[in-house]
């Protein structure tokens, strides 16, 4: 009937195809990366690899201390950052969403989020390692990672809190409950899963970072497990970096195996967070 009418529809079809192609270009490298690392590294991974120490200057043996180190660092980061982060988010959302102080805090969080990880490493080095004399230690490393993760916790907690509809708060206040009672009994129980998701995402990020731990805690070759928080530890990201750039003659498959271990850990934790988030959405009764 009308040639003009056909054109927009064809245009849409072509646009959809083109954009779909571009999306594939964006997305396929992920699958490639996962595939390649898996295929080339899986042969080295066995129980031995995961539970013994490295020997011969990192060339042989396993990655056990690095795994333990990564887990310790991640737990420590959460311990330092979650209380402050959740409290800050509660303050921003429930207590003074519109004040000038709140805007300053929000701006501060935004900028903390944008600071490059290496600058955090620098800060950690200057303050925790040197000025406060903690030395290169678990303490310094976890504090640095916690600082880096603080904005993530604040932002995701704030979002989880905001997802609770205002009408519940109103109903609670109209019944004579105080602000804190409302927060504690109505808002928090219904946002706890969202908060948890944010924490888990922070964990996965902290586990994969290298620059902040480079000078604050990570040891190049430390086959034994740490005895105190003032000890250094090995960590998977640092380990991968070291065997890729500092130590020659390590088998390529060993390096892939370390990368694979790190990927498993990080993406595994991420997958947990994603599935919790999906469950929240499905089970939401309001």
């Amino acid at each position: 009937m009308n040639f003009r009418k056909q054109n927009p529809i064809n245009q849409q079809k072509r646009a959809t195809f083109g954009l779909g192609l571009i999306t594939a270009i964006v997305v396929i490298p992920v699958l490639l990366i996962l595939g390649v690392v898996f295929v080339k590294g899986i042969s080295v991974i066995d129980w031995n690899f995961l539970t013994t120490e490295p020997t011969n200057g990192l060339r042989e043996g396993g990655v056990f201390p690095a795994i333990v180190g990564t887990l310790i660092l991640v737990v420590g980061a959460v311990v330092w950052s979650v209380p402050f982060g959740v409290a800050t988010a509660i303050y921003l959302v429930e207590y003074s969403p519109r004040s000038r102080a709140a805007n300053l805090v929000r701006l501060a969080i935004l900028n903390l989020a944008g600071v490059p990880s290496v600058v955090y490493g620098l800060f950690g080095l200057g303050v925790f390692v040197i000025a406060l004399k903690f030395g290169a230690s678990i303490l310094a490393g976890t504090l640095t990672l916690a600082l880096m993760g603080l904005p993530v916790i604040v932002t995701s907690t704030a979002e989880a809190l905001k997802a609770v509809p205002d009408r519940f708060r109103e109903a609670s206040l109209a019944l004579g409950a105080s602000k804190w009672q409302t927060t504690r009994h109505v808002v928090l129980p219904n946002s706890i899963q969202g908060i948890l998701t944010g924490i888990i995402l922070e964990i996965s990020r902290a586990g994969g970072e290298t620059a902040p731990i480079l000078f604050t805690v990570a040891a190049f070759y430390l086959p034994r497990l740490p005895q105190s928080i003032f000890d250094q530890v090995m960590a998977l990201p640092m380990h991968l970096f070291a065997i890729s750039t500092q130590v020659p003659n390590i088998g390529l498959d060993v390096r892939y195996a370390v990368a694979l271990t790190l990927l498993f850990l990080v993406l595994g934790i991420n997958a947990v967070a994603i599935s919790i988030r999906a469950k929240i959405r499905k089970n939401r009764i309001w």
Binding site: F168, E170, S172, A174, G176
Partner: protein, 249 residues
């Protein structure tokens, strides 16, 4: 007649908008006062002043005086205990995301009532609200699974659990079917013996059915306040007459 609430020259504005102008009225104890009027007449604002929920709107500026018994509503520091003695039912039922029992317990629990008291309080309130028969065997199931009419009665039970002196209802039946509506209206009739009730409604017929006296508000002003029969059959002000006849609204 004992006056429960005395409002003198109340004015409320939000920024540039004037929501209530120089309003004065008194509410008598144990009466059901209906308030009718079109949407922007300030009815809801009036209710939020009475239980200080207007505090949640930072841009509100209030002048005048409101007294309830010996409490000066506008300046009292004890707003939490004020809100417990002035219950509020919103237009859309807002059951809290918890079990039925926890919903009704919520007010008294936050007020620090003893645990032993709570169980009887829950039953009493649900009976008073006319919901006990329907939910007594599933008190520990989520409240949000109830129907709209049931949720609204739950909200009433929730407010009653605090044994309020005054009950404010803001268009409580606007989203409900006729059966739920009449059940709630019956409940109000029984409740008035224990408390004073202010019922804001968009539906003049509801006021005609339920209220002893009715007030007509327009654009923030109190136009007329009279016995319900008088207001509806022989209104003193022309604007009242036109609203009731449906000429605007």
């Amino acid at each position: 007649m004992v006056k429960e609430i005395i409002i003198k020259s109340l004015s409320v504005s939000y920024g540039k908008k004037q929501a209530i102008r120089n309003l004065s009225l008194s509410v008598e104890k144990n009466e059901i006062l209906g308030i009718i009027g079109p949407t922007t007449s300030g009815k809801t604002t009036l209710l939020t002043v009475l239980n200080r929920m207007i505090d949640t709107i930072p841009s509100a500026v209030i002048s005048g005086s409101v007294s309830m018994g010996d409490i000066d509503v506008l300046t009292t520091p004890n707003i939490h205990s004020l809100r417990r003695s002035v219950g509020m039912i919103f237009a859309l039922p807002v059951a809290l995301p918890m079990t039925i029992r926890e919903n009704v317990e919520y007010g008294p629990k936050m007020a620090g009532e003893a645990k032993g008291e709570l169980k009887t309080r829950v039953e009493e309130s649900l009976v008073q609200a006319g919901l006990w028969d329907e939910v007594h065997d599933r008190l520990d199931t989520p409240a949000l699974k109830l129907s709209g009419g049931q949720q609204q009665r739950l909200c009433i039970a929730r407010a009653l659990a605090l044994k309020p002196k005054v009950l404010l209802l803001d268009e409580p039946c606007s989203g409900l079917d006729p059966i739920s509506t009449s059940r709630i209206e019956d409940t109000l009739g029984q409740l008035k013996n224990d408390m004073t009730i202010i019922l804001v409604t968009n539906n003049p017929h509801q006021a005609a059915r339920v209220a002893h006296r009715t007030a007509f508000m327009l654009e923030g002003e109190l136009v007329e306040l009279a016995d319900t029969d008088t207001l509806f059959t022989n209104p003193a002000d022309n604007r009242t007459k036109e609203y009731i006849e449906g000429k605007f609204g």
